[in-house]
C-alpha cells in the first residue's frame, strides 16, 4: 500500500508521514517513508509518501492507493498518480470517483486546536476508513508527540465517532517494527563505533544528524561558524585522541577540502558525512541527487589515502557509518560516507545493531623523547599519540618525528609510507562486501546509493541480476556481462563511466530532477530501452 499525504509547508506533512509510517509499523508492516518538501517554512507544496508492505521494502511507490490532501490546490499535482481513494476536507471541491470526505478544518476549529492538528485529523480519517483501530492511532500519537500531543487525541476521537465509511481493511500482519530515519541510522552507527565529537554547520540534507546528536548525551555535537571550522575542530579532537566526525552537503564539503588534505598529510582520522543534494551550487536544496561521486573520490589537493563508501539503504547507512569511523582510525586517514537526501531524510523499518568500536592504541604519556609519530613502517600505519605525549604533527611534509622537511630522500619515503596504506585498506575492504550481487538472470542492473531499493524490486520482477556498489574507494566492480543497465540520479552517469572504463557497454537510466526513482519508473525506463 502506497499513501501520499500532501499539503503546504507548515501543515505538518513530514510529521504526518512519520506518524502514519509508525502506525503501519505497529501493525507489523515493513515501511518506507519518502519526504518531499520545498526550501520554505510556510506555504507551497510538501508531500510525504508512506509505503507499507508485508515483504521487506526500501523504496516508496509511484502510484498511490490513497491520497490525503490537506490543501485543495495540491490535488492536481498528484491526481495522475492516484489509483485509489482521495481523503480530503468536505469543503474542498475536488473531482474524484472514490472519495472520503470529512469536515477536517471545522472539527479542528471546534476543538479549539491549532491549524496544524489538521494533519492528525486527516490521518485519522484515513485510518478509520481503512479499518485501523483508534487505539493504534492513539498510542502512536502518544509515543510520538508525548504530553504536547495529548489534545490531538481529541481530534482522533472526534473523527472516529463521526465518520462511518469503510473503503478498505488494513490488517495486522505481524509484530511491531521500529521506524528510523537515515539520519538516525548514521548517528547510531557513528556512536556505536565510539564517536565522541560531531561538528556541523547546518546544511540540508545533513542537518538532521546534527539535531539528533545534539540531543544525545553520548557525544558532544556542536555548531561552529563554518564548515571549515567544523572539520578543523574535528581534526583538533582527533589529535586529542577522541573520535570525531562532521556532516554536510556539497557546498559545505567544498569548504572542507583544504582540511581534508591536511588530515591526509598529518594522518589524522576524521569521518565526513557527505549527504548529496541537487546541484550545482545551491541547486534544489531539499531534493536528492548523486552528482558528487567524483568530488568525493577526489576531494582535495595532493595524493593521500582515502576511504569512500556509499550506503544502499538506511540500515546500510548505520553499518557503513560505523565501519568507516573504525576504518578511519585503523588507517589514520579521512573517510567519507557518501550518501543522499533520499537516505538521510527518509524513514524505514530497520533494526540497528552490530557495529562495535574497534579500539586502536593511542600513546598518551609524557616523555622527554619526541614520539616517532610518523615511523616508516611496512604497512604505512605508524603508532598514534596524543598530547600530553610529546607528539608533533605537521601540514608540511615531515620526517618520522613530525618536523617539516623538504629533503628529497625523506619526502620520497614518507609520501610512499602514507600511500602504502591504500594497499592495506583495499585488502580489508575486499572483505567488507564492497558491492552486493543478487543473481536473477544473465543481464544486469548496476546501481549505487538509495536507488538500490527500487532497483532490487524491478530486477526481481523482470529477471535481472543486481550489482550495487558500496565502497567507491577503494573501488571493486563486480564481474558482469550480458546487457548492463546503470541507474543513477545524475546527468552523465558517473558510475556508468567507471563501468565503461572496464570495457563494459552500459545503458543509462538517469534522472537529475531531484526526485528519487520508484520501482515503477525504473521498469518503464528498462522497457523503453527494449523498444
Amino acid at each position: 500500500m502506497n499513501v501520499c499525504i500532501a499539503g503546504a509547508a507548515g501543515d505538518g506533512i513530514r510529521g504526518a508521514g512519520v506518524i502514519l509510517g509508525k502506525i503501519f509499523c505497529k501493525l507489523g508492516y515493513s515501511v518506507f517513508v519518502y519526504q518531499e518538501y520545498q526550501s520554505r517554512i510556510r506555504g507551497g507544496h510538501n508531500a510525504s509518501v508512506v509505503r507499507a508492505s508485508e515483504r521487506e521494502i526500501n523504496s516508496h511507490g509511484y502510484y498511490y492507493d490513497a491520497l490525503i490532501c490537506l490543501r485543495d490546490y495540491v490535488f492536481e499535482k498528484h491526481v495522475e498518480r492516484l489509483r485509489g481513494v482521495l481523503v480530503c476536507d468536505s469543503s474542498f471541491n475536488l473531482e474524484h470517483d472514490r472519495k472520503v470526505e470529512f469536515p477536517i478544518t471545522e472539527t479542528v476549529k471546534k476543538l479549539n486546536l491549532p491549524d496544524i492538528s489538521r494533519n492528525i485529523a486527516a490521518i485519522s480519517v484515513f485510518c478509520k476508513s481503512f479499518g485501523i483501530e483508534a487505539e493504534v492511532v492513539e498510542s502512536v500519537i502518544r509515543e510520538s508527540l508525548g504530553k504536547a500531543g495529548e489534545r490531538n487525541l481529541e481530534v482522533v476521537r472526534a473523527v472516529y465517532e463521526n465518520l462511518d465509511i469503510t473503503v478498505g481493511q488494513v490488517r495486522r500482519v505481524g509484530e511491531r517494527k521500529e521506524l528510523v530515519s537515515g539520519a538516525k541510522a548514521i548517528a547510531e552507527g557513528m556512536l556505536d563505533a565510539g564517536l565522541k565529537f560531531y561538528y556541523a554547520y547546518p546544511m540540508t540534507p545533513a542537518t538532521p544528524i546534527l539535531h539528533i546528536l545534539a540531543a544525545d548525551n553520548r557525544c558532544v555535537a556542536l555548531q561552529p561558524e563554518s564548515e571549515i571550522a567544523a572539520i578543523m575542530m574535528a581534526i583538533g579532537s582527533a589529535f586529542g585522541g577522541e573520535r570525531a566526525a562532521v556532516g554536510t552537503s556539497g557546498g559545505g564539503f567544498a569548504l572542507m577540502s583544504e582540511s581534508i588534505s591536511l588530515a591526509g598529510m598529518a594522518e589524522i582520522p576524521v569521518l565526513i558525512i557527505l549527504a548529496q543534494r541537487s546541484g550545482p551550487s545551491t541547486g534544489m536544496a531539499t531534493f536528492t541527487a548523486q552528482q558528487d561521486l567524483y568530488f568525493a573520490l577526489n576531494p582535495a589537493h595532493g595524493e593521500f589515502p582515502l576511504i569512500v563508501a556509499s550506503p544502499l539503504t538506511i540500515e546500510d547507512s548505520y553499518r557503513l557509518a560505523g565501519e568507516l569511523l573504525n576504518l578511519s582510525w585503523k588507517f589514520q586517514t579521512p573517510a567519507i560516507l557518501l550518501t543522499e537526501k533520499h537516505i538521510t531524510e527518509s524513514y524505514t523499518t530497520a533494526k540497528l545493531g552490530g557495529v562495535v568500536k574497534k579500539e586502536v592504541e593511542i600513546f598518551r604519556e609524557k616523555s622527554s623523547e619526541i614520539f616517532k609519530r610518523y615511523e616508516i613502517t611496512e604497512s604505512g600505519v605508524s603508532p598514534y599519540a596524543s598530547p600530553p605525549a610529546l607528539v608533533k604533527a605537521n601540514s608540511n611534509e615531515h620526517d618520522e618525528y613530525g618536523f617539516a622537511t623538504d629533503d628529497a630522500e625523506i619526502a620520497t619515503e614518507m609520501y610512499a609510507k602514507r600511500m602504502r596504506k591504500e594497499e592495506k585498506i583495499a585488502k580489508v575492504v575486499a572483505n567488507l562486501e564492497p558491492y552486493i550481487e543478487i543473481k536473477n538472470g544473465k543481464d544486469w542492473i548496476v546501481t549505487w546509493g538509495s536507488n538500490f531499493g527500487a532497483v532490487k524490486e524491478v530486477a526481481e520482477e523482470l529477471g535481472f541480476s543486481v550489482a550495487a556498489v558500496r565502497f567507491m574507494r577503494p573501488l571493486f566492480l563486480p564481474k558482469i556481462s550480458g546487457e548492463v543497465f546503470c541507474v543513477e540520479c545524475n546527468y552523465t552517469g558517473l558510475l556508468a563511466r567507471l563501468l565503461e572504463a572496464e570495457g563494459l557497454e552500459v545503458k543509462r537510466i538517469l534522472r537529475w530532477d531531484g526526485r528519487p526513482f520508484t520501482p515503477e519508473e525504473i521498469r518503464r525506463e528498462v522497457e523503453r530501452w527494449a523498444e
Partner: protein
C-alpha cells in the same frame, strides 16, 4: 628540534625565547601545554619548541585548538598565528573563538607583511604602503587586532613589542594562566620586508582599563602596549561540558 630558518634579526627569535620562558614557568607549576601554528614565518615555531604541536593550515589555528581543548580539557593550548594567517584568511575564526570565550591563548605575530611569500600587504599593513602587490600604495585601511578582539568578547587582550622580551614573557605567562580566550598581539619587525625598528622609540605602555570601552580607546593607537583588558567569564568548554552531564 628543527633547525631555525628565520632571517637573522627576526622578531620571531624574541617571541620564541619569551615563550620558552613563559611555558617553562607554566610547566613547572604542573600543567601540560600543547601548541599549534598556522602558515607563514611564524608557523615554523611549532618545530622549534619542545612541546606537543600541530603545524596546521592557513588561518585555522583557533578551531583546531577548540577541538583539541574539548577533547582534552586538562591541556593548556596555545596557538601562534600571523597577521596574514589570522586577520586575512582566518579572521572569522578569531572572532568566533573570542565570542565563545573558548579557553585558548592566541599569540599573533604582527609584522604587517606577508614575509614568507616575499612581501605583500596584510590586513595590518598601513594605508598607502608600497609592497610588491601594491606598487601604487596599499588602498586598504588596517585592522586594529586588539580592538577587533575586544569587540568580539575576548576576556584577555594585550599587546607587546619584541624589543621587550621580559615583559613579553610575563604577558605570555599571564595569558596562558587566564581562564578563557586570551589574545596577545606582538608587534615585530620583518627584517627583510617591513623593518620598523623605529617603533622601539615609539611604543608606550599603558595600564589595564576598567571597561571594554576604555580598553578600546587605550589600544586604539597601534603603538600602545600592555594588558588592556581582562575579565572572568564562563568558558565555552565549561558550558558545553556542563550541558552534557
Amino acid at each position: 628540534m628543527g633547525r631555525i630558518s628565520w632571517c637573522p634579526g627576526c622578531g620571531n627569535f624574541a617571541i620564541l625565547r619569551a615563550f620558552e620562558k613563559a611555558s617553562q614557568r607554566v610547566i613547572k607549576e604542573g600543567y601540560d601545554i600543547a601548541i599549534s601554528s598556522g602558515i607563514g614565518c611564524h608557523g615554523k615555531i611549532s618545530d622549534y619548541l619542545n612541546l606537543p604541536s600541530f603545524h596546521v593550515i592557513h588561518g585555522r589555528v583557533p578551531p583546531f585548538l577548540t577541538g583539541l581543548k574539548l577533547a582534552n580539557p586538562n591541556l593548556i593550548v596555545v596557538g601562534f598565528s600571523g597577521d596574514g594567517d589570522g586577520l586575512n584568511e582566518g579572521v572569522e575564526h578569531f572572532v568566533h573563538a573570542a565570542r565563545r570565550n573558548t579557553d585558548i591563548t592566541i599569540i599573533l605575530h604582527n609584522n604587517g607583511v606577508f614575509g614568507l611569500t616575499t612581501g605583500q600587504v596584510t590586513a595590518t599593513s598601513p594605508k598607502g604602503w608600497k609592497s610588491k602587490s601594491t606598487p601604487y600604495g596599499n588602498p586598504e585601511y588596517p585592522i586594529n587586532a586588539c580592538q577587533l578582539m575586544l569587540a568580539s568578547g575576548a576576556t584577555f587582550v594585550a599587546r607587546v613589542f619584541t624589543g621587550e622580551q621580559k615583559r613579553m614573557a610575563e604577558i605570555f605567562y599571564r595569558a596562558m594562566k587566564h581562564k578563557g580566550f586570551s589574545f596577545v598581539e606582538v608587534l615585530q619587525p620583518c627584517m627583510s620586508f617591513n623593518n620598523f625598528w623605529d617603533l622601539r622609540k615609539e611604543v608606550f605602555w599603558v595600564e589595564k582599563a576598567e571597561s571594554v570601552y576604555e580598553a578600546m580607546r587605550k589600544c586604539e593607537d597601534a603603538r600602545a602596549c600592555g594588558i588592556f583588558y581582562t575579565e572572568e567569564k564562563e568558558t565555552y568548554e565549561d558550558v558545553v561540558w556542563r550541558s552534557m552531564f
